[in-house]
Subunit: 134 residues, 6 copies
């Protein structure tokens, strides 16, 4: 159950088809996941979202592709986004995340969640040593 209706034949719209084609070409896969199918309800939002995801996630940069997926998982867990935890865990696994690495990722994310709560509970003053401008 979603908040927008699924478009029956989304690729009948050439703007949607262009995005779907680019997703398939960029990912070298025929699979287009639900996010894009549902975003087809507004081609402009579909286009801008894909352009941004492609620029950040598919273009080589300082961070390697697997690390990007793990960071994505970390944020999605903290924001309690069911769809995103599923989709980015699957993506991380496709990029080589083993069960051992997954467990290690969960160890860091859950510890961070814990000490975030601790620091918020103590309302700690930030150490001047952490200042970027020193």
């Amino acid at each position: 159950m979603t908040t927008v209706a699924l478009t029956a034949d989304p690729e009948a719209d050439p703007r949607v088809k262009a995005v779907f084609d680019d997703i398939r070409a960029t990912r070298k896969s025929d699979f287009v996941n639900n996010l894009w199918h549902y975003l087809a309800f507004d081609p402009g939002l579909l286009e801008s979202t894909w352009a941004e995801v492609k620029a950040v996630m598919a273009v080589p940069s300082e961070l390697d592709p697997l690390t990007k997926e793990m960071l994505y998982i970390a944020v999605s867990i903290a924001n309690s986004c069911t769809y995103c935890v599923h989709s980015h865990t699957a993506a991380a696994r496709a990029k080589g995340m083993t069960d051992e690495l997954h467990a290690d990722l969960l160890r860091v994310v859950t510890l961070a969640s814990k000490t975030n709560a601790l620091a918020n509970g103590l309302q700690l003053p930030v150490d001047p040593e952490f200042e970027a401008d020193r």
Copy 2:
């Protein structure tokens, strides 16, 4: 301003001193940051917190130390923890995070925050292709 009083001479307590000594030895630095100073109000909580942080962050594992710090930053941003964003950004920088890498990290974290909101807004059904048990 914090929610617990700072202990005047925390290392007068041998349990606190043992933890502070181990922090200094593990990190090869004389600097003990505020989290540990304020946690000294309860030596048991200080000990269990440090034991866990050391086990996850200081013991070699699948994830390299810099990636762990970046994951920590990602979670801390999502949880809006001022102290943790500062302390782990400083730690990541000490472990080699350049401005370029920091910007790349922020690009992934902010994009994830954006699509988390999008997926929550659309209430997307999870694709069966993401199933771990397939």
Copy 3:
């Protein structure tokens, strides 16, 4: 699956019936959604919740009814509340939200989520120009 049992015949309790009657009268509809059915497990909590929702959402005020629903959606997305995103998106649609407006709403909410993460990541000092007391 919920955390409280559904009451078999909730309107047998006159306090519950009075609230359900007022919901139907206020909304000019026979439909009473699940929130109220499940809240019937505690008539006092049902009464206080409905009184507050009615006072804020059903009484004319500065904000028009559709804008109120869109604000409700925005908060519910950020808080990751599945039920609330569904119920208030349906309410906004019933009050005239088109697909175009829905997409525009999602554009603002997702951008805000993104720059929230950016500002939290940078830990920006607040500009003195923003001071309400100037």
Copy 4:
């Protein structure tokens, strides 16, 4: 620095004075904290907020007053509300929370934050045994 201007002489408004008087009488103290001073910018919002806080926090109910304050702290930590963590920690201390109890509270709240992240990361199916309606 706040988002609303502080009213110079708030109790010149009889509606504000009535609320402040009731706060002082209910709490048996001359101290009226900042929340109420700033809420004086809108007497209606001040009245409804105080009425609700009084009904839940000051009227005897199933939960004892100290437990209510600790629950308030737990939620405020998770929601990263600086003002609320401070005000309710002070209130809990005034109602008898010792350092030992404070540490115990933090142990539960931080563990919950950790396993929340773990369950969100694993996307666990809810056990049918937890069903309230069984």
Copy 5:
């Protein structure tokens, strides 16, 4: 649907069996809930998680067992953790939480969520009277 595969015969691994046995002995029940079954994908993570949950939740301390469960519910609601809200509400009920107490808990948690948003919206300065070090 989860992000890790369920292990077919988890107790064939002696480390998993030892944890499951301790869960059953500690809780005096044959029921081992899904969290532990899915954590069996990484015995080390299973062991450290259970050790921590046992130390905080099953060992007598300042807070009584039911209050701990209610604090856990409060945090889990704020963090929007579906699994955790279900599991800890069931646990609280098993420890004596009545419908009346459950309603009272929800009254405090929802009021805290409300005034958290209010304080964040007003960006209130913390009263010096709340200072722990005074």
Copy 6:
């Protein structure tokens, strides 16, 4: 105190100058707030962030400019972003938000925060009537 150093003379970089010039021209004001000054540490991130903020917030669309600012405030409160609550409250005020409207906005945002917690606490099933695809 921030996590990135402030650039001494940011507009010496022509890419930064171009963005700052466009901010001033778009907003018809000489004031460039801290977000942009600190983002100057990475001109690419500055450019992409401004392009997106301009496209969503400064280009006429379905939502009027003041409603956009109020939605931004709502999300920023829920995400506990200090800088964003301040900057967008100031922007909303500059676009005509009165104290009365501000109070009304806070009434909706705080009620939504409350019922979000209530729905998460009850784990309500979504009513089939809310289905977008009906």
